[in-house]
Amino acid sequence: MEFISYLTPMFFALVGFGVVVGIIFGAIPGMTATMAVAVCLPMTYGLDLTNGLALLLGLYVGGISGGLVPAVLLNIPGTPSSITTTFDGYPMTQKGEGERALKTGITSSLFGGLFSAIVLFFFAPSLADVAIKFSYVEKFLIILFALTVIASLSRNLLLGIFSGVLGVWFSLIGSYDISSGGNGEYRLMTDAMVPYLESGFSLLPVLIGLFGLGTILQEAQKGIKEEVGKGKKLELNGGTSFSLSVFKGQIVNLIRSSGLGTFVGMLPGVGGSAASVLAYTQQKNFSKHPEKLGKGAPEGVIASESSNNGLTGGALIPLLSLGIPGDSTTAVLIGAFTLQGIQLGPLFIGNNLDTWNTMMVALVFANLVMFVVMFFAIRTIVKVITIPKYLLYPGIIMMCVVGAYAINFGIMFDVWTLLFFGLFGFLGQKVGLEVAPFIIGFILGKQAEVYFVKSLESFGTLTIFFTKSPIAMVLWVLILISVVFSIYGMIKQKKNNNNKEA
């Protein structure tokens, strides 16, 4: 129980601060939990690991939860994962039940968050125990699986895979690292670039560029429109007020949606919108009154919000037990761990038991703070989303710069990396490339190379990837399933499109 000594008042204050900032980020349309974590990373440079993680986990939970505020009140999802909250939340607001919808959503979020934290607590260590026996072959296959899953959820399968592989390509720039068994030679660049790119692009400037600057460029192109106009009045009251009786008969819904959220979160690279869409459609299938969904039924809000908070714990499972991020926000968290000199992977939990325990405390506490803050201060938060964007966005660019510059103790090249990837993210999305597969490819590319090449160097044959162990074969089956599933989805989509055109 040594970890209790880490639980200082500072620790709890940081979690609370993170949650509040996260809620604000999540509540402002166009800004996501990922952005909140990326922009606030520089604050953790001066903190130790425990306190840094406290802040980041608070931001994560707050950021995912805050998205429900504009979803309910303005019909604009604050984060992609609250898209389905708009389906029923906004009709409820139109009926004058805004506050009821918000509080239903907040309570569901709390349930989903705690549910997934429990799953994380029991599941991650056992998954890590399995993963500890993995050789390079299995590790490579896991990365391949992560990449196929994420590609299968892209809008266009081929472009999704292309984005992922392109991410891998960018990660290979630099030297073939000697410390991981390479020969230290440079590749994919000219001699002039060697002083800057000796060890490749740093992860954080790339992330901050894609998620921070890239998003702002997109908004700038649209002309920085203020969604929350002065004319629009936010009506909260009237109609039925909130009481816990909303949840009567919804226990199954709560558990199923939280479970689905947690499960989708575990799949590497799959974002929050997939989780809430899945939970929402399932609720519609099982509901006693499916016709009411989409017209202001609290059960829709419950399904959507419990699943997207279920995601938080789920996404941390592959991160902490395999070192593979479950979504783009946890991808940024990888950066925070690297910063503190901690290698994520199967050994992490066993070697850092105190950190693991404090993380769990932070996660549970963050969910409780989120609930209390949002439940009792909802009116104040509603006002916050009216901060004009023309004040907000310049400040975000400023924080992006700090984050990129300070990460390697003051290298201006990282700031230019930020600009380059901001532009790249902006232009790339114009031609259909997708950020999420790109990031996962970028994070995992270097490891994939080492595992792949080392496997071949030691076994000398390609068949080893199939015959190494039963686990390898199971992984191939999983890869096959995700590929078949995505091709099936693509054909189905095409049929739908053809029907629409006809």
């Binding site: 520089p42 660019i397 510059y405 792949f452």
Partner: protein, 146 residues
């Protein structure tokens, strides 16, 4: 390994091993690019031809002033930051002194209905936020700033 698996046999020359994986990636990228061109190419061409005819109907128009303005300001901001920072080494003043005008100009570029009130808030925010960021990060946490 004389079991008929010679087809799958791979040997990697260590001195060239840094190029082995990148080469595979290049081939995959190339094949994917060809596949993408084959599957979505014809459709894209058709769309482009149609787009020329009714360009104005598709989606929201690009706000070129704000987009290019953001880019130009950001590039100037980044380049000046280092130059100014070199005048006051290790103080973070380069960051502080360039952030204030940058934030002010960008806010002015973004605001839609400029009025007296807006200018006051913009001025205040563009002075206070960099100052707070600079004080908290550079002074309290000793983080390196330009």
């Amino acid at each position: 390994m004389a079991d008929g698996n010679s087809l799958f046999k791979v040997s990697i020359d260590f001195s060239q091993s840094h190029l082995f994986f990148p080469n595979i990636i290049h081939w995959i990228l190339l094949i994917l690019a060809v596949l993408i061109a084959l599957t979505s190419g014809p459709k894209l061409l058709r769309q482009m031809r149609e787009k020329k005819k009714d360009d104005k109907q598709t989606g929201a128009p690009t706000d070129w002033v704000r987009l290019l303005g953001t880019l130009v300001l950001t590039i100037i901001y980044f380049s000046l930051m280092e130059t100014v920072g070199d005048l006051f080494p290790n103080t973070g003043f380069g960051f502080l002194f360039t952030s204030i005008p940058f934030m002010f100009l960008l806010s002015v570029l973004f605001v839609h209905q400029p009025g007296r009130r807006e200018f006051v808030t913009i001025t205040l925010s563009s002075i206070i936020s960099p100052a707070v960021a600079w004080y908290v990060l550079a002074q309290m946490f000793n983080i390196t700033l330009p």
